[in-house]
């Protein structure tokens, strides 16, 4: 066998034998892998969907416990009972300027209740009489980060309640409920905007509903999830996310009367066919030099996750990895395959502490220097 024949046999052998599944080479991915250092003692299998910063501590609702730690430490404690009575499931946590609130599921009766506390020690049941609360959602201010009011959805999916200070307001009837809880809320001045799966509600002064939008983006299949109204940033505007792979960007004028005449649809460049990313909640990340709007993901098409996405100041959506993220850390952490229902920032913007809550894979914190994530 001469050299040419030998090389031909080798080439055919290489071509026929090589067969790799997946999106990256195995050896190459191992070469790029980075050690993920656990930065805290929180379970890495917990599901964290809501967080709040209150009186110098972070609070995270994690199913069977309310986790909390001082903002300057890394060691988490947990609370499984309120006022020392009964174990509960912690569905959500939120805060106002004066109080901390939790939405819990009572183990004994399987009934949801809302509790408030001014010191995170003594809790008061403030569940609206005659209603069963099913969601507790922060109303985002126009910085895209903070919140000092909350909205509660009742199980009829029609009645909602505004929480300000330490009290819960009267029921406001949305009239058309849509069959889903409120998933996101934002305010601009005294105008409040609530979103559920198929509708956008405009409530001036959180009084009565002035406009209900059900059709503006019906071509997208609805599936509304997140809403944010940004002002004072270089990417001001109204952003609405859908679990069908799209993000709508408009202006405040668009959402006031729901005309959406200047709205544009943003989608990841790689979206192909059913490659649908189920976008969820937003968080404005204003760190100098890497300003962007982060958008988490929710469940869709089964249990597979999609990490989170990043929207640049120019409106470009990237994911897996999001722009500005250390891609080796991102893929090594497997965040690209997790569902990320929570994006949260504590401390003072823009250089506070950023958190990413996942479904069943714990809570992660952001290192802005290395642009990497570590589990808490």
């Amino acid at each position: 066998m001469n050299l040419r024949n030998l090389l031909t046999v080798f080439a055919v052998w290489l071509l026929l034998a090589s067969c790799t599944s997946g999106t990256e080479g195995i050896f190459a991915s191992i070469e790029r892998e980075q050690k993920i250092v656990d930065a805290g003692n929180l379970s890495n299998t917990s599901t964290i969907t809501h967080m709040a910063e209150f009186n110098g501590r972070y609070y995270a609702a994690g199913g069977g416990a309310l986790f909390h730690r001082a903002t300057g430490t890394s060691s988490w404690d947990s609370t499984s009972s309120l006022n020392g009575t009964g174990n509960r499931k912690y569905v959500a946590v939120g805060k106002t300027t004066t109080h901390l609130f939790v939405l819990v599921n009572e183990g004994a009766t399987a009934t949801n209740k809302v509790f408030s506390s001014s010191d995170a020690s003594t809790w008061t049941d403030i569940t609206p009489a005659g209603f069963i609360p099913v969601s507790l959602v922060p109303i985002r201010n126009r910085d895209g980060i903070t919140s000092d009011q909350l909205v509660v959805t009742a199980s009829d999916f029609r009645n909602v309640f505004l929480i300000s200070g330490g009290s819960v307001g009267s029921a406001v009837d949305l009239v058309t409920g849509g069959g889903n809880e409120i998933t996101a809320a934002a305010k601009s001045g005294t105008d409040y905007y609530l979103v559920n799966e198929s509708r956008i509600y405009h409530l001036p002064n959180f009084g009565s509903v002035s406009v209900v939008d059900t059709s503006a983006f019906s071509s997208l299949g609805h599936g509304y999830r997140g809403l944010i109204i940004l002002s004072g940033t270089s990417m001001d505007g109204v952003y609405l996310s859908t679990n069908r792979g799209s993000i709508v960007k408009g202006t405040v004028a668009d959402i006031v009367d729901n005309t959406w005449t200047t709205a544009t649809i943003l989608e990841p460049a790689a979206r192909v066919g059913n490659d649908t990313v189920a976008f969820d909640q937003f968080l404005y990340q204003g760190i100098s030099g890497s300003e962007s709007l982060w958008v988490g993901t929710t469940f869709a098409n089964g249990s597979e996750g999609y990490g989170y996405g990043s929207i640049s100041t120019g409106g470009v959506v990237t994911k897996n990895p999001p722009a500005g993220t250390n891609s080796n850390n991102y893929t090594s952490s497997k965040l690209n395959s997790y569902t990320t229902p929570l994006l949260f920032m504590g401390g003072a913007a823009p250089n506070g502490t950023y958190f990413l809550g996942t479904a069943a894979h714990g809570l992660w914190s952001w290192d802005p220097v290395n642009k990497s994530w570590s589990p808490q």
Binding site: L14, S21, T23, G25, I30, E31, I36
Partner: protein, 197 residues
């Protein structure tokens, strides 16, 4: 150049270790199970050293993998008293920085020539075949080469014991993303027992 020589130097040292005699034998044996038509069954066990990854453009990089272990079995057929042909099955496991396990199961066809210096034999062989490679949820089927050199003490006509050192050269092109293609180099050093029959 330095990166290239490092794995080769380590491999060479392992080869030197591999040819060190394990002991002496006073009585000459009848090698009646090492002639044409006879067979040998080899069992090997030992550590595996991840040496380097190389891109198809030529650059080397550390593997990021921990020290691993390997277990193997070979079945060979003697063509004459110094040359045998056969095949082997190996398995190896090693861990990534985040403790994910890389599994590889090579299946190779092998030609081996034995240098015999009574009461020792020094097999030198070249294997070629395929490796089933699995890491996390990804699986690949990769061509590979496996040169081997060893040193054995022939305790009896049926049993030999010794050391083998093998260089695994695994080709993993990735056609949909060519920059992800790699050639992986692993070196194993195994204790071996050969049964001749």
């Amino acid at each position: 150049m330095k990166k290239i020589t490092r794995p080769l130097l380590a491999f060479s040292m392992l080869l030197i270790i591999g040819v060190l005699p394990l002991g002496a034998q006073a009585t000459e044996l009848k090698y009646d199970h090492r002639v044409a038509g006879d067979r040998s069954l080899t069992i090997q066990l030992g550590p595996l050293f991840p040496m380097a990854f190389q891109s198809f453009s030529g650059s080397f990089a550390p593997t990021n993998l921990s020290l691993g272990g390997t277990l193997g079995i070979d079945l060979d057929f003697y063509l004459n008293d110094t040359v045998r042909l056969g095949g082997g099955l190996r398995g190896k496991a090693t861990s990534s920085p985040n403790s994910a396990t890389l599994f590889m199961v090579p299946i190779t066809f092998r030609a081996t020539w034995e240098l015999k210096v009574y009461p020792f034999s020094f097999p030198m062989g070249m294997g070629a075949g395929f490796s089933f490679t699995n890491f996390r949820t990804e699986t690949s089927f990769d061509p590979m080469l496996m040169p081997t050199i060893g040193a054995y003490w022939n305790m009896s006509s049926s049993w030999s014991f010794g050391l083998d050192a093998s260089q695994w050269i695994v080709f993993q092109p990735f056609y949909s993303k060519p920059e992800d293609g790699r050639i992986a180099y692993f070196t194993d050093l195994t204790l071996g027992a050969i049964y001749h029959f």
